[in-house]
């Protein structure tokens, strides 16, 4: 007999605290589809994705019904398109993106990631063509997500690519002006990009992965917050930060186990490999599903105040520890997301002026992912956007961790005005960039920032 308390505790995580499987992401290697003829290549992509993902929607629905846990999104991540499309003409990149978009709709997934280039040490002609195609792809397709890895700890930082991406952001934002530059929300610029990340927009099926794999992204900010509130309300003595870390760990264990169960079941039913659980705390704009609210429950009432970085570090570390104990298959990003527009409490902290871009940058040094879903003034110049990217990438490269940038220069709007992206992407007051334009010359040097030293690490 199961203890009633255990049953109700697990059920309570789902029905009251918004525990869900945020995404079942199927990774598919598209390299076998490579062909010099674009028609043949696209036909191969369609055939291969239908073969692997044709039953994904039905299987997810069955598994959802079996365990009574919501699977919010089904997604596909493909191998980096820049490699697959090498040798093709510039126009072909858009054709490939349109093919991905159409097949994603056909198999019932909301997003497909992998319109990706890995250019940390240098870029090929194919990489350059993919990056050049980004504004049109991001603005003319519905479901295609893109990412560019511009730095690694081993290779350094490709500043030429970053400079180009500053212009890509401006162009993509302008092409999606009626939607507050939303096209940029589908582009992630990475340092040390993971090859098995299931979360969009940065998911791609990396080198070294099998033909097809199921990766899971779970999410439970509401569960962690509820556990902390319960601890604080009922502990016999006032909990220390060590007690709080222990509570987060045990909650992360339960959340991770749900993800692994769902991932293994989906993979088994589809007859493909199970990859990893990414146990990131991914917020949604709903109240009660926020990483910011966890920080508030820990006592950082005004997010952005001194102590915010330390609290986030504690949270991020405890989540990783709980998840690592729960499963040997933890991967992806696995940490706390501070996606500003997608997190109601963080967006509110920006609106009242407590949370600044500088503080966000500091916080990203201790958590995943980086400067994520941040609206900046539309008149920000491309070099300043590039410099912002370079700063965040440098944090990742120097600290041997993944960082990423997803910033949206909102056309026609200034700091203090509101940008609205809708749905899970949320909304936020546009953050100012201090001393914008003050680093143009630095960006225009171009070249590569060398890889950091791996010894003398203090």
């Amino acid at each position: 007999m199961y203890r009633t308390e255990d049953v109700l505790a697990t059920l309570g995580m789902i029905r009251q605290h918004k525990l869900d499987v945020r995404t079942v992401t199927m990774g598919v290697d598209l390299q076998p589809c490579a062909a010099p003829d674009i028609v043949v290549l696209c036909a191969g992509i369609r055939e291969r994705l239908l073969r692997f993902a044709g039953r994904l929607r039905a299987v997810c629905r069955d598994v959802e019904g079996r365990y009574g846990i919501p699977i919010v999104n089904r997604r596909i991540a493909v191998s980096p398109i820049s490699t697959l499309a090498t040798g093709h003409a510039a126009d072909d990149y858009l054709t490939i993106a349109q093919t991905l978009d159409a097949v994603a709709a056909e198999v019932g997934v909301d997003l497909v990631g992998g319109f990706t280039a890995l250019v940390q040490k240098g870029w090929t002609e194919g990489d350059r063509r993919l990056i050049a195609a980004l504004p049109e792809v991001l603005s003319s397709t519905e479901r295609v997500c893109a990412s560019v890895n511009v730095g690694t700890t081993a290779a350094g930082i490709n500043m030429d690519a970053i400079a180009a991406l500053g212009h890509v952001l401006k162009d993509a934002a302008e092409r999606t002006r009626p939607h507050d530059g939303f096209g940029c929300a589908k582009l992630v610029i990475f340092a040390n990009a993971p090859t098995d990340n299931p979360f969009m927009a940065g998911a791609f099926h990396g080198i070294g992965e099998p033909d097809c794999v199921i990766n899971i992204g779970v999410s439970g900010p509401g569960v962690v917050k509820a556990a902390l509130e319960d601890l604080l309300a009922h502990a016999p003595t006032k909990p220390t930060l060590g007690d709080i870390a222990e509570e987060i760990k045990s909650t992360a264990f339960r959340v991770t186990r749900v993800g692994e169960l769902i991932g293994r079941e989906v993979a088994t039913r589809l007859g493909v490999a199970f990859g990893i659980v990414d146990l990131s705390l991914a917020p949604t704009p709903q109240v009660g599903d926020s990483v910011g609210e966890i920080l508030q429950a820990m006592g950082v009432v005004r997010i952005g105040a001194p102590g915010s970085t330390a609290a986030l570090a504690l949270l991020n570390d405890a989540v990783k520890k709980g998840g690592s104990f729960a499963s040997s298959s933890v991967g992806g990003l696995s940490g706390a997301f501070v996606a500003v527009s997608e997190d109601a409490a963080l967006a509110q902290a920006v609106a009242v002026g407590d949370l600044t871009l500088a503080k966000l940058e500091a916080m990203t040094a201790v958590c995943s992912v980086g400067l994520d879903m941040i609206a900046v003034p539309g008149d920000t110049d491309a070099e300043t956007l590039a410099a912002l990217i370079a700063d965040e990438v440098a944090i990742g490269v120097i600290n041997h961790k993944t960082t990423a940038v997803r910033i949206i220069p909102v056309p026609g709007k200034a700091a203090g005005e509101k940008a609205v992206f809708g749905g899970l992407f949320g909304e936020m007051v546009i953050l100012p960039i201090h001393a914008a334009g003050g680093s143009t010359a630095f960006v225009r040097h171009g070249g590569r920032i060398p890889a950091p030293l791996s010894s003398l690490r203090n």
Binding site: M1, Y2, R3, T4, D6, V7, L8, A9, T10, L11, M13, R15, G65, R66, Y67, G68, I69, F253, R254, R257, V258, E260, L261, R264, E265, T268, F325, A326, S327
Partner: protein
């Protein structure tokens, strides 16, 4: 070997298990399985007891009641039939059904009716009312050809009429979140009717 099912009920007091087990031992029996609970001050125990020779069920019940006279035991003994060991739902899978909401007479009757109509076998059930708040958690075997969504929609229909929420979930999700052992998928391995070890 002859096996008997013994049930004993009484107001809860210290020493009842000692008394019942002592009678079984003195009569030459061996307890194969035992489950005991106390509900609202009342003790209930059910035992499977094996004897080398056939016993009179009446004499065994009388012996247990006589030794436990000071507890005023209510005892029933029946002979275990082999066919009862056959699973009621062959190839079924164990699901946890949870129903929460407003208390009203007939809740359990209605829920059990929904399940019986679809061939669902209840193997463990705990329900209680706290300040007009009804909660029920049961383990039940669903036939292999019955989709959990059908049971869920039946219970939800009943729930809408009686202000109740209903959840139907395979047991593996509770194993995964409550135990550190490796996550498993697919059918459960515990047989129907086996007493699980509380954890």
């Amino acid at each position: 070997m002859h096996t008997y099912i013994v049930t004993v009920t009484a107001a809860d007091r210290v020493g009842i298990v000692f008394s019942v087990a002592g009678t079984v031992r003195d009569q030459g029996g061996n307890i194969l399985e035992l489950s005991q609970t106390v509900m609202r001050g009342y003790f209930t125990i059910i035992l499977a007891v094996a004897f080398d020779e056939a016993k009179s069920t009446r004499e065994l019940a009388d012996a247990i009641a006589e030794r436990g006279r000071r507890f005023d035991l209510t005892v029933a003994v029946i002979e275990a039939k082999n066919e009862a060991r056959e699973p009621a739902v062959p190839n079924g899978e164990r699901f946890i059904l949870t129903v929460l909401g407003a208390d009203s007479p007939g809740n359990i009757h209605g829920i059990a009716g929904c399940l019986a109509a679809h061939g669902v076998n209840i193997v463990d059930l705990h329900a209680r009312v706290d300040e007009a708040r009804f909660s029920l958690v049961m383990e039940a075997f669903l036939p292999s050809d019955l989709a959990p969504s059908i049971v869920r929609s039946e219970l939800e229909r009943f729930g809408r009429e009686h202000n109740l929420e209903a959840y139907v979930q395979h047991e593996n999700i509770f194993l995964a979140t409550s135990e550190p052992s490796p996550v498993r998928v697919g059918p459960g391995t515990r047989a129907q009717g086996d007493a699980g070890v509380p954890h």
